[in-house]
């Protein structure tokens, strides 16, 4: 078979995956998921557990060690059939705490400690790198099987080039579909869908090869059983300690592997999916392992001595000249390798960016969380860079280790490495006594032991450990021999490593946990996690009122993006019974905000950011009482009381707001009466004075003309004031009739800007710069163009009059959303103080007492009435740096406007 064909088929397959991912992403954005969120897709995505090691290596494993390969499936099967005990809790905690990765899970459980996050991240990177190397190796090997000897321009068996190409391609895929949005709790539909497709491909491929072996080469199942009986495989004995060790390790791995945590917890849509996965996933594993032994046996019989059993899945069909089948098998292996690398890179990148890059970045910035500017770009860049770095590490490991070891052994080394998280994870889920220091001690101990007895020796005699060191121990210390700790000889090296690392890890975890005292936040988090099903206590880490809502909004905008952050603040404000974007900073709200942020940047970083604004969190006696189980009954009673008092509080808050508004309005009204008197009397003074002067006569011609001109101008000023008053009164009484027509937003803005340019009331030297994006203003509206333009003129005019920046600039941003056009007017001045934001739209309100602007404080009130008639709205947008107004108008004013005008 032509090697070029193989390359083009692989490329075609990759293109197909890109397309699947792109389509799924688009579908999820358009219709919000649908069947993309089915339990089937979830189960298939779990098959990322079955890597190239499973696909190729299981057969090799069977050829070398008989049925032992089955242990790798037994562990996960046990975990899944017992899902009610463990997985359900893990997923529930993951969802309630908005967990982004296994590192985030550990960090969040132990009091949102970022150091623990970093520790788990390092462990995960070190444990996963060999595994990624393994995948690259398997792809390279399988390419090598097909390679025509002496290919001209590219030797596919050359690990340097093939591995590099594969790693680069995977990096591109992961970056494209894994870093679309920041919020890790928003699922990566594209990635998950591609992985589900790959899951089907690898299952079909392996089953096809299996069927071919059973019915194509042998004469059906009976013949195969006979052949198995006759083969060397039948002679292998089960080694109980190795089996126990392997089952334990694979069960631990399915919980602790970063990629498994990603698909199992982070990408989970619905807890009920676990119920389906609990039987469907073991079934999938069962089908994957069904034909392993037949393929191994037939391969040993048919292929020459010395053929690599890891590649039987490929070499068997090739030898029989079933090239199409060989191609399918190749794609199956390719799928296994790529899906693992993609998800692993994604999971590791999330950890690295959330626990390493973001904390460093935030610390390096003066001003911290409130500083203006968008950090989403930084996080996404960090994540992309991390993906590339993780793959580069995997590639380097692959080059360094020479790709010589048998596939399965690298896989096991990785498994044991990441399993070191298990004591801290299980302890965290089920034991309230586990502390931060205990978790750290356990992790470090397990990690060091694992590295010492398994990881470093795995590099072989060329690696860091010399043969003498392995045989005699470091510096001749006999009981420290890496493969016979404490002088216990004769254990299988793998079992030896599992035993000592997990044992010492657990001992350190429990011992230090018992001897240390948890901080209040650790206690709270511990109770929340351990008792996640019993009650949902609000983790009241925050005290009321110390934070300014506007500062919080500024920070949230930087991480969640302006529209999501504004929506969050608005919804919280409305549940509190307030209008606008600035809710009261209650402890509940701070908690909710922290969780939203945690979904993007991890619990520890989110906590630190909120703490920068709200002050460090304090946990009081009251909160600790809530944690104590003994107080449960009191708690329920007090919960009910609290619900009532919350209701009262909400009502009181509304009343307080209303009262404050009334008081301010009354003051405003008095002030307005003075104001309106002043506004009317001032021009009248000039009119009267100059008309008396003119009546007396005796003036020269030019003075006479000038004085008459002054009378004329002042009369016009009076008229305009009266016009405004009448306009408002008419609008308020709904007597106005709209003249609806088609208009383009951009044109209206042009008109408004031209009109304000002519109205230079402040003087010719006010150089207000207007920044626009005409491309986005091509929005067709059916509305009353004159009225809408009047609103724009008012807003631009206000910016001109009141923007106090050195170089005043007004940004106008337009976009379309939910059948409405949303236009923001944002200037770079000092903005409007929070206490005044509520009243600027009231009639006759003017913030400064001075008549500098020459208006009577009616402009915004008129704007509000107009927008109401047009079926839209105008509101103040806090937290934008300067004064900012948002105008929302329906694309077609038709019915809604008519209704509003009724």
């Amino acid at each position: 078979m032509s090697f070029n064909l193989l390359v083009s088929v692989s490329l075609g397959y990759v293109a197909l995956l890109f397309m699947v991912a792109a389509l799924a992403d688009r579908r999820a954005r358009r219709v919000g998921g649908g069947w993309l969120r089915s339990p089937l897709v979830y189960t298939l995505s779990l098959s990322v557990y079955c890597t190239a090691w499973t696909f190729y290596g299981a057969v090799g494993y069977a050829a070398r060690s008989g049925l032992e390969f089955i242990t790798i499936y037994l562990g996960p099967t046990l975990v899944f059939t017992g899902w009610w005990l463990l997985l359900r809790k893990l997923v529930r905690v993951g969802r309630t705490q908005r967990i982004t990765s296994i590192a985030d899970m550990i960090s969040s459980r132990y009091g949102k400690s970022n150091r623990l996050g970093v520790l788990v991240t390092i462990l995960a990177v070190v444990g996963t790198t060999p595994y990624i190397a393994l995948q690259l190796q398997s792809v390279t090997l399988s390419f090598g099987v097909f390679a025509a000897p002496g290919a001209e321009f590219w030797d596919p068996a050359d690990p340097a080039s093939t591995g590099l190409w594969v790693a680069a391609g995977l990096a591109v895929f992961t970056i494209l579909f894994g870093t679309r949005n920041l919020n890790s709790n928003e699922r990566h539909h594209g990635v998950v869908m591609a992985i589900a497709v790959e899951a089907v491909v690898k299952l079909v491929a392996l089953m096809a090869v299996g069927c071919f072996v059973v019915w194509g080469i042998a004469d059906g199942p009976a013949d195969i059983l006979a052949r198995i009986d006759n083969s060397a495989l039948a002679g292998w004995q089960i080694n109980p300690t190795r089996w126990a060790g392997l089952i334990f390790t694979s069960a631990a791995a399915i919980l602790c592997l970063p990629r498994m945590f990603q698909v199992l917890v982070v990408e989970n849509e619905d807890e009920a999916h676990l119920g389906v996965a609990s039987w469907a996933f073991p079934l999938y594993l069962c089908m994957m392992s069904l034909f392993v032994v037949p393929i191994a046996v037939v391969g040993l019989e048919h292929l020459p001595e010395g053929a690599n059993p890891d590649l039987f899945v490929l070499t068997l069909p090739l030898k029989e000249n079933w090239n199409g089948l060989a191609m399918l098998a190749f794609l199956g292996g390719f799928s296994s390798a790529t899906s693992m690398v993609i998800v692993a890179a994604l999971a590791l990148a999330t950890m690295v960016s959330n626990h390493v890059v973001m904390p460093v970045y935030l610390n390096s910035r003066q001003g911290g969380a409130t500083m203006a500017g968008d950090v989403r770009g930084v996080v996404l860049r960090a994540r992309r860079f991390s993906i590339a770095a993780v793959l580069a590490l995997g590639y380097l490991y692959y080059r360094f280790s020479g790709g010589s070891a048998a596939l399965a052994s690298i896989g096991l080394i990785s498994f044991v490495g990441v399993s070191q998280v298990l004591p801290a994870l299980l302890g965290g889920l089920f034991w309230r006594g586990g502390t931060r220091a205990g978790a750290a001690a356990g992790l470090v101990t397990g990690f060091v032991v694992w590295a010492y007895v398994l990881f470093l020796p795995s590099f072989g005699t060329d690696g860091p450990f010399s043969p003498t060191m392995l045989a005699e121990g470091p510096f001749g210390i006999h009981w420290l021999r890496p493969q016979a700790l404490f002088g216990i000889d004769g254990m299988d090296p793998f079992v030896h490593a599992v035993f000592w690392s997990i044992l010492l890890n657990t001992v350190a975890f429990c011992g230090v946990s018992i001897r240390t005292f948890p901080t209040p936040l650790e206690r709270l988090q511990g109770a929340q996690v351990v008792n996640v099903f019993e009650h949902t206590l609000g983790a009241r880490g925050w005290t009321r009122g110390s934070a300014e809502a506007e500062d919080l909004l500024m920070m949230a905008q930087r991480i969640l993006g302006p529209s999501d952050a504004q929506a969050l603040f608005q919804s919280e404000a409305s549940t509190q019974g307030k209008l606008g974007y600035l809710p009261e900073t209650t402890p509940e709200f701070l908690d909710r905000l922290e969780r939203e942020l945690a979904a993007s940047v991890g619990a520890a970083t989110a906590h630190a950011m909120v703490a920068q604004i709200a002050g460090s969190s304090t946990v009081g006696v009251e909160d600790l009482m809530r944690v104590a189980d003994e107080a449960q009954q009191i708690l329920e009673y007090s919960n009910r009381l609290e619900a009532q008092s919350k209701e009262l509080e909400r009502t009181a808050r509304k009343l307080r707001d209303a009262n404050q508004k009334l008081t301010e309005l009354s003051i405003q009204k008095d002030a307005f009466l003075s104001q309106i008197s002043h506004e009317l009397r001032t021009p009248m003074t000039s009119v009267r004075a100059f008309s008396e002067i003119l009546r007396e006569g005796g003036l020269d011609e030019s003075d006479q003309g000038r004085y008459a001109g002054i009378i004329h101008d002042e009369a016009i000023r009076l008229t305009r004031l009266l016009d405004d008053l009448l306009d408002l009164s008419v609008l308020e009484n709904a007597q106005v009739s709209l003249s609806l027509g088609a208009a383009r937003l951009g044109d209206l803005l042009d008109r408004a800007i031209a009109a304000t340019g002519a109205l230079t009331e402040v003087g010719p030297d006010d150089g207000l710069k207007v920044a626009r994006d005409p491309g986005r203003e091509q929005i067709e509206l059916v509305t009353d163009a004159d009225r809408l333009t009047q609103v724009f003129i008012n807003l631009i005019g206000n910016a001109k009059k009141y923007c106090d920046a050195q170089e005043p600039e007004l940004r106008i941003r337009a976009r379309q959303r939910d059948g409405r056009a949303v236009i923001d007017f944002i200037d770079n001045g000092s903005g409007i103080p929070a206490r005044s934001q509520d009243i600027i739209f009231e009639k006759f309100s003017r913030l400064s007492d001075q008549s500098a602007a020459g208006g009577a404080g009616l402009g915004l009130a008129i704007c509000r009435e107009i927008m109401l008639r047009l079926g839209g709205s105008i509101e103040y947008l806090p937290g934008q740096g300067g004064a900012a107004f948002r105008v929302t108008v329906p694309l077609a004013a038709g019915r809604s406007a008519a209704q509003a005008a009724q």
């Binding site: 003075s674 100059f690 002067i693």
Partner: protein, 127 residues
């Protein structure tokens, strides 16, 4: 010798009208438009009569009045206050702070002239 009046007022048209009325009668009319620096201007060259508007940019006319009455050089300076607000409260405030006369806008030209001349002549009875 010139009779000197200082007019503290921010509306250019009203400044022009009062300047015309008073200068026709032989007054030297100085003007000042900024409330925040008005006290310094008065103290640097105390006029014969001061005409003071209430609503000024930077500082209210009442504050200026109070500060002037507190300074020895201007404790007895004849002061006419003008206001466009025309509320009773303003008149009370003006009297409490020690304005000699108080007029609401719009005013009659001849009345302004008479009042200023009367103030200069030392007739300080309340109108």
């Amino acid at each position: 010798m010139g009779k000197r009046v200082l007019l503290v007022e921010d509306e250019p048209n009203i400044i022009e009208a009062i300047r015309f009325i008073l200068s026709r009668d032989g007054w030297v009319v100085d003007t000042h438009s900024d409330g925040s620096t008005a006290v310094d201007t008065v103290l640097s060259a105390v006029p014969d009569v001061l005409v003071l508007d209430v609503m000024l940019p930077g500082k209210s006319g009442f504050d200026i009045l109070r500060e002037l009455r507190g300074a020895s050089a201007t404790a007895d300076l004849p002061i006419l206050m003008l206001t466009a607000k025309g509320q009773g409260r303003d008149r009370e405030l003006a009297e409490r702070y020690g304005a000699n006369r108080f007029m609401t806008k719009p005013f009659s030209n001849s009345e302004v002239l008479e009042t200023v001349n009367a103030l200069q002549a030392g007739v300080t009875d309340q109108a």
